[in-house]
Amino acid sequence: MANSDSNKRNNSSNKIESINPLVDPFHEPCFVFFKELDKVEDMWNDSASNSFRHEVTEYSRKTTKEYLEAVNNIFESYSAILSEAQKLKKWNAGFGQWMSFLDLSVVAERGISRLFFNRDDHRF
């Protein structure tokens, strides 16, 4: 039992936590790539390796991080927008049903709360 718990802990520390289906496929290639690049310092040391670390490792890390943040953002914002659009398709859309404010927290955080919170409540 104790071993099993320990194994679970080890597995979970090796496994990268799932974020969303768009970002997750990038985990493994990025993990392997940067792990290998980080080893360069110990295996290759001259002026060219310094340039490599700066030009490749650092630049790639920054660009990849920014891109993955953008993927995460578009997943969250598009999912929220799609969910709102689905509500507009319903036969009773706009006829007085309340919007699900909790679902919109992600979108609201990104500054489009005005769109939903100012929406008129058409109850006839």
């Binding site: 290998e36 690049l37 040391n45 001259d46 891109y67 398709k89 489009i112």
Partner: protein, 169 residues
């Protein structure tokens, strides 16, 4: 033999360049595939949003037609004079036509409001897409230009290393 210090220039394993080239190459290929998957997902969502917009436009168009018909029915009711049994003009009861017209007007208003909301959602979607595309462009530059150029550099290092090794054998 003493391990080289940080001050010394050294290459621990001559195959490091090959290994790095392979790692970079694999990173490029896998991430190109992943970016394509992201693009497909983005396209699917945008397509779904566009279809929703078209549906809401159709609903607005239908509601307007219904309102026009309700207007005509009401006008017809108001225009046709009615008389009582003694031939005197009688005020006609058009309440059902008025009620139908009011319901149709509400449907037009709601359909218009829903379409406006949809258009606003699409404008926000465009803004998010632009932000994503800016970062994607930079990442694609990394995958398509920068890293392949780095592979070429590593290849040169590898060739120099091989020439050096050949000199020593």
């Amino acid at each position: 033999m003493a391990k080289p210090t940080k001050k010394d220039a050294y290459i621990e394993n001559p195959d490091i360049f090959i290994k790095l080239m392979n790692v970079i190459d694999s990173f490029i290929k896998q991430n190109n595939d992943n970016v394509t998957k992201v693009d497909e997902w983005v396209f699917d969502v945008e397509n779904e949003l566009q279809k929703t917009k078209e549906l809401l436009e159709q609903r607005l168009s239908d509601a307007r037609i219904k309102l026009e018909n309700a207007d005509r029915s009401l006008q017809l009711c108001l225009d046709i004079p009615t008389f009582d049994s003694e031939g005197r003009p009688k005020q006609k009861d058009c309440s059902s036509e008025k009620s139908a017209r009011m319901r149709s007007k509400r449907q037009v208003d709601v359909a218009q409001k829903n379409l406006n909301s949809m258009n606003e959602l699409l404008r926000y979607a465009q803004r998010f897409a632009k932000k994503y595309n800016d970062k994607k462009q930079k990442f694609m530059h990394l995958l398509d230009n920068k890293l392949p150029s780095n592979i070429n550099e590593l290849h040169k290092h590898h060739q120099i290393m091989q020439e050096y090794q050949n000199l020593n054998t």
